[in-house]
């Protein structure tokens, strides 16, 4: 399996404090990769570096085999067109309706007919089981619904890589399972690579092919979920014990 994302010796600081300290990882194409760790360990920071929202002090990030650190903005945008991002709080544009939110990337990055765009919007909304929300506005949606609409927007362009920041946070168990099933379906049917930052262990168990465990900005463990549960590393043992694993 080829590597779709490679991070090497990534170092980042904030106000003189080291947030990521020599992080290295590689992600197989078509896999679901989970980044685990306690609050404040640098999970979201790592994700934001990979998608170019933050800039590292040093280190290398390769997506589709191309170095993105220091890459020209226009070239990086071409890479981003093949990626989707689900933000923790959804990050929907409040002034636009649900269908307009999902249609944004399709309208901006393709020359498709409006009819085709609307068909794609409907199918993506159907995938997240929110057909009836088509004409609603984000302010009319619950937190879980917002997240599912954000998921529909993130997959609107059929991205090769889908980044998810806490896809299950704040969702009820049924919706969490539905989101997990959707992620599995996207991986299996569309060969999508999914990188998810999470601390919901049930989700990780259901979807992740590989996990990394971050602690104080360093990777303590890389491997499968089962291997992680058997790890002797104290921080990982404590993490799983606290979640009754």
């Amino acid at each position: 399996m080829s590597k779709i994302i490679e991070v090497n010796d990534l170092i980042t600081e904030y106000n003189g404090e080291r947030i990521l300290d020599g992080v290295s990882l590689s992600i197989d194409s078509g896999s679901i990769f989970a980044i685990l760790g306690g609050s404040g360990c640098g999970k979201t920071t790592l994700l934001k570096h990979i998608i170019g929202l933050l800039y590292p002090v040093s280190g290398s990030i390769k997506i589709f085999g191309r170095e993105t650190v220091g890459m020209e903005e226009k070239k990086f945008e071409q890479i981003l067109e093949k990626c989707g991002m689900l933000f923790q709080e959804g990050a929907l544009l409040n002034s636009l309706s649900v269908k307009e939110n999902i249609a944004i990337p399709l309208r901006q990055h393709t020359d498709l007919d409006e009819d085709i765009i609307q068909r794609v919007v409907r199918t993506k909304l159907h995938l997240v089981e929110l057909d009836y929300a088509l004409n609603l506005y984000p302010s009319e949606l619950s937190g879980g619904m917002k997240k599912r609409v954000a998921m529909a927007r993130a997959i609107a362009m059929d991205p090769k890589i889908l980044f998810c920041d806490e896809p299950s946070a704040g969702l009820d168990p049924v919706t969490t399972r539905e989101i997990d099933n959707l992620l599995n379906k996207l991986r299996e049917q569309l060969d999508m690579t999914i990188v998810a930052v999470t601390h919901v262990i049930d989700s990780v168990r259901r979807i992740a092919d590989e996990i990394v465990f971050l602690h104080d900005g360093q990777i303590l463990f890389t491997g499968s979920f089962e291997e992680a549960t058997k790890s002797d590393i104290p921080q990982i043992k404590e993490f799983f014990q606290d979640q009754n694993i």
Binding site: L112, D115, L134, L190
Partner: protein, 360 residues
Amino acid sequence: MSADNKSTYTLPQSLTKENSQKILEELKSFLHETSAVQINLDFKKLENIDSTGVAVIDKVMDIADEKQLKKDLLNVNKKTQISLDTFSSRQLKPIKEKQKPKLFEFLGGQGFEFLEHLKSFVYLTADIFYWGVGGLFSKKGQRKGEFTNQSNQIGVNAIPIIALISFLVGFILSLQSAQQLRQFGANIFVVDLISISMTREMAPLMTAIVLAGRSGSSIASELATMKISEEVDALKTMALNPIKFVVLPKLYAMTISTPLLTIISDAVGILGGFVVGVLFLKISPTAFIDRMASVMVLKDIITLIVKSFVFAWIITVVGIYFGLEAEGGAESVGKNTTASVVTAIFMVIVADSILGLIFY
């Protein structure tokens, strides 16, 4: 390709968002030109299809249905079939669009909405003044030190900009009128003009407009953000009255700061006129001051004070109202802040006209 009254279109190797539009155009032409009663889409070459590709296939199928053509998909492999099943929009039920109201429905709706707003505004105003008076006698439920903080933000921090604007207004007003007065040898009357117009009209109005843009918008945006992030609800659940906890310090600070800022504005505006009078019209400083003292009456000062209080309350209540009316997300904060500034300035000018008539 056409055979036995069937027409077949062979799809390319890839049907994705990169080439979907081009293939759609080709397929539309194919459907337009064909005289066959059945069309076939051959998938034998197709290796890669995404959701836009599936949408194109759906669209073609719909057009074929409209034309009452028979249709068939040939050589669909398992992977493609999964994509077709996953992304097809043909099995989805149509969603009803929101119906737009007709003219009279729209006008009626707007009318009712306006009455609702008016009712809420009156209730809120009554609430603010009820707690405002009560808050003078009981400090319970109010934030300690917040009045000083708000007075600093609304009053002290606004002094430089209000002083600068007022000086320039006084300067320009005197300069423009000096040109005319000089022709009649009536230079001294520039003192009457500047001292009365600044005191009765320009100082209260300029101060109110600056405060509406500066403090009114700040009050509205702060409260709107608090409302949409559920901070107002949080206060209520802690058995704290949001009016007493958040609004009263702002109301008191505005009530104290606005008259003081208006007096500063008046003084600096007249100073602007003084500079023009002394430098351009050669009026001696003593003559300017003597004339000013003789033309100004107590009623002018009372007008200034009354106007400044009224304007302060208008700006505060309007800011609070639009802040607490915010719903939804960030867009609502922006909209309500803008609405608060526009409404406050409009209401200040209306009140100015009414007070102008009263104190004529």
